[in-house]
Symmetry: D2
Subunit: 338 residues, 4 copies
C-alpha cells in the first residue's frame, strides 16, 4: 500500500499514519519528498483496505500495490487451469470449447433439435436457461425444474455438457442435480450468497462478468467461489455497458488477454449478449478465437423470432453452422483446435 499525504500534512498526521500501518501488522516506510510525504506500507495482508488510510487526517489518497485476489492469481498458480465439463471435455486447454443453445429452454422438442444441431456442428456444451433473471416482472421467467429435465435429457442424448444458470443460493442444489456446469449470470456476479453456495458445489462454474464490473471485481467474484474450495471456475466476458447504443453492450475483447495475464482460469466469450445483434455475432466469434479465448458461449434458436427471450441475438441453425466453419481456420491460425 502506498499512502500519499496531503501537501502540508503535519508531522503528527504523518506519525499517526505510520502508527496505523504498524498496528495492522505492516511495516511502514516513509519517504519525504519535495512537496509531499509518501508512506509505503509493506507486507502481505489482503484484508487491509485503502479506505483504512484515506479516512485518516492529512491523507490525500492511498493506492494498493498488490492485486486483492489470490487464489485466482497467475502469481500464485502459474499453470493454466483446465476445467472439466464432465463429459470428457475440458475448457482451458488447446481445444476451444463452444457452448451453444437457446437463451431460455422453451419446450422439449426445440431444445432437443437445437442440441442435435449444435452437437453435429462441433459444440461441446449445451446452454439454456431454466431459471431466467428478467429485467421485467412481466417477462417469461423460465420453465424451472421442467426445463432442467429437458436439458438433462438433451445432454444425455447428445453427449453435450449441460450449462445452465443458478439465480439464487436456493437454486444451486436443484440445478446441480441436473446440470454439468453452473452458470452465474452477469446480474448475479456480486450476489455473494450465491457465489458462496456455488463455491461449495462439486460442479464447475461459469461466472459471467457483471456488465459494469471491472476485471478486478470479476476476479474477486471468482475468488469468492475458489475460496470455498471449488477450483473449477471459468470466467466469461459478455460485454460491458457504455454510452454506445448501436449494440446492446460493448464487447470488450481486450479483456481476454488482460484476464489471461492476471489469472490462470479459462476465459470464455459470449458475443451474443455482448452485441444483442445476430448480424454481428459471427464476426465476433472469429475475433474471440483470434484474440485467444478458451471458449465461446453462443445463443442458437430454431426460430429466433419466436424465441421467448433474446431472439434478436440468437443465430439460426444454418448461421451457427456457418459460424463454426468460419472459426475453424481462425483457431488453426492461432494454434488451437475446435
Amino acid at each position: 500500500m502506498i499512502i500519499v499525504m496531503k501537501k502540508g500534512a503535519t508531522p503528527e498526521e504523518i506519525q499517526h499514519v505510520i502508527d496505523r500501518v504498524e498496528e495492522m501488522g505492516l511495516k511502514s516506510h516513509p519517504i519525504y519528498g519535495t512537496e509531499r510525504t509518501v508512506i509505503a506500507a509493506i507486507g502481505d495482508k489482503r484484508g487491509v483496505d485503502v479506505t483504512f488510510f484515506t479516512a485518516a487526517p492529512g491523507v490525500e489518497r492511498a493506492m494498493p500495490i498488490l492485486a486483492p485476489f489470490k487464489i485466482a492469481s497467475l502469481e500464485v498458480k502459474k499453470e493454466r487451469t483446465e476445467v472439466p465439463l464432465g463429459r470428457g471435455v475440458t475448457i482451458g486447454g488447446k481445444r476451444i470449447g463452444v457452448i451453444a443453445g437457446p437463451c431460455s429452454v422453451e419446450n422439449r422438442d426445440d431444445l432437443l433439435r437445437t442440441a442435435r444441431v449444435v452437437k453435429d456442428a462441433g459444440a461441446v456444451g449445451l446452454r439454456g436457461g431454466a431459471f431466467k433473471p428478467r429485467t421485467s416482472p412481466y417477462a417469461f421467467q423460465g420453465l424451472e425444474e421442467e426445463g432442467l429435465k429437458f436439458l438433462r435429457e438433451a445432454g444425455d442424448e447428445t453427449g453435450l455438457a449441460v450449462v445452465t444458470e443458478v439465480i439464487g443460493e436456493n437454486t444451486v442444489e436443484l440445478v446441480g442435480e441436473y446440470a454439468d456446469v453452473l452458470q452465474i449470470g452477469a446480474r448475479n456476479m456480486q450476489n455473494y450468497r450465491l457465489l458462496r453456495a456455488a463455491g461449495q458445489s462439486p460442479k464447475p462454474v461459469l461466472l459471467k462478468r457483471g456488465f459494469s464490473s471491472t476485471l478486478q471485481e470479476l476476479l474477486l467474484a471468482a475468488e469468492y467461489i475458489l475460496s470455498q474450495g471449488n477450483p473449477n471456475v471459468m470466467v466469461c466476458v459478455r460485454g460491458i455497458r457504455s454510452f454506445e447504443t448501436y449494440t446492446r453492450f460493448t464487447m470488450d475483447l481486450a479483456a481476454v488477454p488482460a484476464l489471461q495475464e492476471q489469472t490462470h482460469l479459462p476465459v470464455v466469450v459470449d458475443p451474443s449478449h455482448a452485441t444483442g445483434k445476430r448480424s454481428l455475432v459471427t464476426s465476433l466469434c472469429r475475433a474471440a478465437v483470434a484474440v485467444g479465448a478458451d471458449g465461446l458461449l453462443v445463443e442458437v434458436h430454431p426460430q429466433p423470432e419466436r424465441a421467448l427471450s433474446d431472439g434478436a441475438q440468437s443465430l439460426k441453425f444454418d448461421e451457427f453452422e456457418t459460424m463454426m466453419k468460419q472459426i475453424a481456420p481462425v483457431a488453426e491460425a492461432v494454434g488451437r483446435t475446435l
Copy 2:
C-alpha cells in the same frame, strides 16, 4: 411499439410483421414512408418485447412507446406515495427524512453512541449493515444476527426507524424480525429472487439503484417488489459508474427529478456511496435537498478511520451535525422541513 422496417424490406416481410403484431393481440398500423415502412403496434401489452420484432426478417429496429413498468408509474397512480417507516415517521411527504448511521454495525457501544448523536441532530432513521456484501471475500462480512440485535436495541432506545440490508432471499425473514425497513443494496438490485421475497414482506423497502442500472431498470426492479403486493417502496439514488475516477461513483442528481416525473415512489439520495469522499458529502446533501429529494441516507461513524468499511466516506459526529444545520435552511428554501 413502433417497428421500423429496413430500406428495401419486401412486401412479404412487411406482411409477416403485421401478422406477428396481430398474433400478439395488438392492432397493426403500417405507415408507408418515402424510404422506409414503419409499423405501429397498438394496444396495452407490457409482456410484448421489442426483440420479438427485431428478430424478424426485414426489421431494422423496434422502439417501445409505453414505459415497461406499471404499478410504479405516475400515470397509474398520481398521488405521491408516503412510505411509513414504522415509528410514526414517513418518507415522501413534506418532511425530508434523514437516515444515518455507520456503514457496518461493528459493536454495540459505537452503534448506540452513533444512534443518539444522529437522533439528536434530527435524523429519523438509523442505518447500519449487519449482513455486508463485500467485493472481496477477505473483507469484514458483518456481525449478522448479533448486529441486528444491536440495531433493534438502538432503534428502541432512540425511537429511530432501523434500516438495514437484506443480501439474499433467505435473510429477508430474519432481518424483518428486527428491522423497520429492508434495504436492498445496489449489487442486488437485479437479484430477482430477493426482490420477490422483499415484495412478500410486510416491511417497507429501500431499493438502491444498481451502479450501472438505468432509471427504467430501477423502476422495473421496484415493480418486482410492488407486483408482489408490497406498496411501500422507496428508490434510492447512490451514484453510477462512469469514467471519472476522482469520486468513487458519479452522483447523478438529475435522477431525482427524472424519477419524480415518472414515479410516485419517494426518492432518497445517498451521497456517501456516490462520492466515496467525506469532503464532498455535506455539499451534496445540500444539493440533494435543493433538487427535491424526499430523504437522505448518510454514513456517520464515531471514528471513521477505525471503521471496518467505508471509513473514507463517513462523516464524523460534528460533521454530521454541521451538515444537518446546513441543510435546514435549504429545505426551507424549497418549501420542505426536516
Copy 3:
C-alpha cells in the same frame, strides 16, 4: 512518481529503473517489499510521464503522486480567483452569476427580447452562439459575424456581459472584438490550438468540460490557457456521457466541490446541456446553487419549439423568471447572493 515492479523483477531491471529515474533529474528511493519492489521517484518535474517507466522491462505500473497541473492548482494559489466579466461584474465571489440566453443567436429581435427578460430577472451575462459546432453538417451552423453584432448590441443595451463561443483558433480574434467572454465548448476542450489562442487573448474564458473528460483533463485544459498568460479562466461543468439515456448527459454535480478542492478557478454549472430536458433544468439550478457553484449557464428562448437548436432544453421566459425566484432563497441558505 511511484513505480511498482513486477513480482520477480530482476535486480538488473530494478537498477535500470533507478538509473532512468536519476537520468530524469529525480531522486530514486527503492523499497523492497515482501512480494514486490517499489521505487519512489522524488522531485518536482511535471513533464515526466508515467509511461516513461511503464515501458521499461520488469515494471508493472507507475502512479503519479503530484497533480499534473500547476497554475490551476489550489496548492499554488490559495485565494479563489474572481473573474471579471467586463461589466463591473465578476464570477467567483460571493455573488452567483447567472449567464442566460438562447443556444444560438437566430435573429436580432428575439435576442434583444431575451436579453431584456434575463437582465430584468437578474442575470449578469448573455449567452448565445454565433458560431455553432453542430454534430450534423446539415444542421444550422450559426449567423457568424452578424450574430456577434446582435450580441454586442444586446449587451450594450442591457449591460449584460456577452458570452459566446469560439470554435477554432481563427475565430478567437474576431469573437474577441465583440464578446466580453470567450466560451470554449465541450467538443473543443482538447482543441489545443484553440486553447492556446484563447490563452493569448485579453478576454476571460469560460471553458466547458468535454463530455467525456475527467476533472484532471479539464484542469489540464485550463492550464493550457493559463500557461499562455491569461489568468481569467472559469471552468464549466455540463454533464458527462454515461449509459443513462433518459437525460441527454449525466449531470455530475459532485464535480463542483471536487473541482473547488483542487483549483482556485470559479466553477460554473450548465444544467441545460447536462439534462437536455426543460422539465429538469430548474431543479438542477437549485441544486447547483446549493452545492456551491459560482455561476450558472442557462438556455432561454422566447419560443423554444421554434429554436433552431436545443429547444427541448431551453426555458421559456416565465420559466426562467420562476427559476430565478427559486434559486434566490437557496443562494441565501448557502450564504451567497444573486
Copy 4:
C-alpha cells in the same frame, strides 16, 4: 420521425404537432392508440431535428427513423470504398493495410530505422506525429514542420505512404504538402472547422473515432468531410472510454462490423491507443483482422521506454515482426491478404 405524445395530450396539442410537421414539409400521419397518440412524420429531410418536436407542448419524445448521415451511408452507395493511399496501395479492398510507426516523430534516424523495419515486415504506411495534441501543456508537442520533412524522406526512401496528424484547420495545408494521408485524431473528431478543411483537401483522410463518440457521431463527422467533396475517408476505431481502468481505453471491436453494416467507408483499427499496453497489442491485432478490419494502425518504436510519448503501448521491432507473422494466417483464414 416518430413523435410520441404524452398520455392525456389535448387535441389542440396533437393538432399543433401535426401543423408543425407539415410546416416543415413533411407529411403527418397520426395514430391514435389506447394510451397515447403517436404521430409519424414522413419525408426525407435530414435537417429536421427531433428537438424541434420535443420542445412542443404535450410531446413526450421524438425518435428519428432515418440515419442522419447520407453520403457515408451504405444505403446511398452499396459498393465498398477503396481509399488510395497514394503509393499504389489502397485500403478497403481484399488486402489489409498495416500502417505502423512511432507515436511522435522524434528524430530523423529513429524514424528512418523504424520505416525500414515496418516496410520489411509488410506495412504499407508509415505513421508518426509531427504535430502532437497532448493532454498536458508541459508534454512534448512534436517537431512540427521538421518532423514532416523526416516523414517525407522516410516515405520516399521506403515507398511507404505517410500518415500524419493535422491538429487545426491551419495545419491542413502544410501537412498536405508532405503527407500522403491526413490523420484526424480522436480529440479533434468534432472539430468541425478542421473536418471542413480536410474535406477541401485533395488528400485522403484517416478519421479517428472520438473516445466518447457514438458510431453515429463518427459517421456524421465523416459526413462533414465527404460533404465538402473529399470522397477518400477511412474511419478508425481506437477504443472508447469506459469505467474499466486496466486498459487505457476499451477496445470496442464490435464497432468494426457495426460500422460495415452502416457505411461503405473502410474501417481501420488502432489497438495501440485502445489498450495502452504493449502486452495486449498483438492479440488485438489478430482479433481486428479476424473481425474484418480493413487496416491496422500500430505504434512501433526502436526503444519504447525512450519514446517521448506513448512508449507503454509501442511495439519493439521484433514484437512488430512477430505480430505481422501472427496476423498473416488469420488474414488468410478470413479470406484476406496482407
